[in-house]
């Protein structure tokens, strides 16, 4: 598999866009599930109430990969998510999440060759302010 060709063809363009309406209760539930104790994350009555920093990681788009992307689910597994917090997410916000393939690269480990596909979701609020960037790594054995 030519990783450079794959990256050239599939990386860098938006293949999915979804909308999320933000409500207070799920924000507080997520924070409590994460073990947060600060009222600004757990108490909707707090004047600075907002989502916990990793909140955007709970969202999925309509597609994990662009239509037609050569995939092999049986040889793939989840490589985890990294969240880059940019600005608070608050109840009443409307978030637009746009997905693109941010990177495709290869590395070797004890189990052999692996291809990493980095799915990036950029979350903007109703003011076109980017509030969170979530990189989701999908790993495929080669």
């Amino acid at each position: 598999m030519d990783i450079a060709e794959l990256k050239k063809k599939w990386a860098g363009w938006t293949f999915d866009e979804v909308r999320f309406e933000i409500e207070a209760e799920p924000l507080a539930e997520f924070s409590l599930a994460c073990g947060e104790t600060l009222p600004r994350y757990t108490d909707p009555q707090d004047p600075n109430f907002q989502a916990a920093p990793s909140f955007a990681a709970r969202f999925h788009g309509d597609r994990a990969l662009p239509e037609g992307f050569p995939s092999d689910r049986e040889a793939s597994f989840d490589g985890g998510k990294a969240v880059d917090w940019k600005a608070p997410i608050r109840p009443g916000d409307t978030l637009i999440a746009r997905s693109h393939i941010h990177d495709i690269f290869e590395k070797t480990g004890r189990s052999g060759g692996m291809m990493f596909i980095v799915h990036r979701m950029e979350f903007s609020n109703q003011n076109d302010e980017i509030v969170s960037i979530v990189d989701w790594k999908m790993i495929r054995k080669l």
Binding site: F105, K107, T108, G109, R110, S111, G112
Partner: protein
Amino acid sequence: MILDLHSHSIVSDDGRAKVENYCQWIRRKALSLDGFVLTEHRLYDDESDYRSLEDEFGLLILKASEVETDYGHVLVFGVNEDLRAALDFSRVDLPLQEVLAQAQGCGALAIPCHPGRTRVGMCAHIETRGLVEGVRIIETLNGGSRGEENATALALAQENNYHSTGGSDSHIVSHIGRCATRLATPVSNMDDLITELEAGRCEAVVWESEEWISPN
């Protein structure tokens, strides 16, 4: 002087540690470490400047790379423009022989790391393809290696009279300094470090019972 010669920061795709947090951890835990080398995966970080952290924490922080070859992973110290022009660091199948030769020609130093690991270590490849000319130093203590992998590496070094180094291979803050390298002469920059390593004035050490121990 004790340096951790193998560590990764968030610059590496799988690194989860910020360099500042490594420094804070070393000081807060009072680790007996004089500094560390950032060996980022498949790239050389020419943007980050850690001099202010060196001053603030009194640590030596040097930059290097970990590349991937047909004989497993290799640390490269003294990366410069010539070497980066000669080798595509992003490749996962660089010929080890070429990495060794190009490093030597460019004034750098290549050291196979975690040689006892399957697939990404040199030992398994030696079994099927033989020794590689030009290897003089290998990493015999790696903080991320399992079970007998470090013992396998040490045996390889002893059989072939290779010099040895140690490094934590840390990807998270609390792993820095799990293994390290003792240098006979203190160094203050990459050139000095390469000189000491090439001269073999180094040994791999691990922190046990409140002191650095060499398993050699």
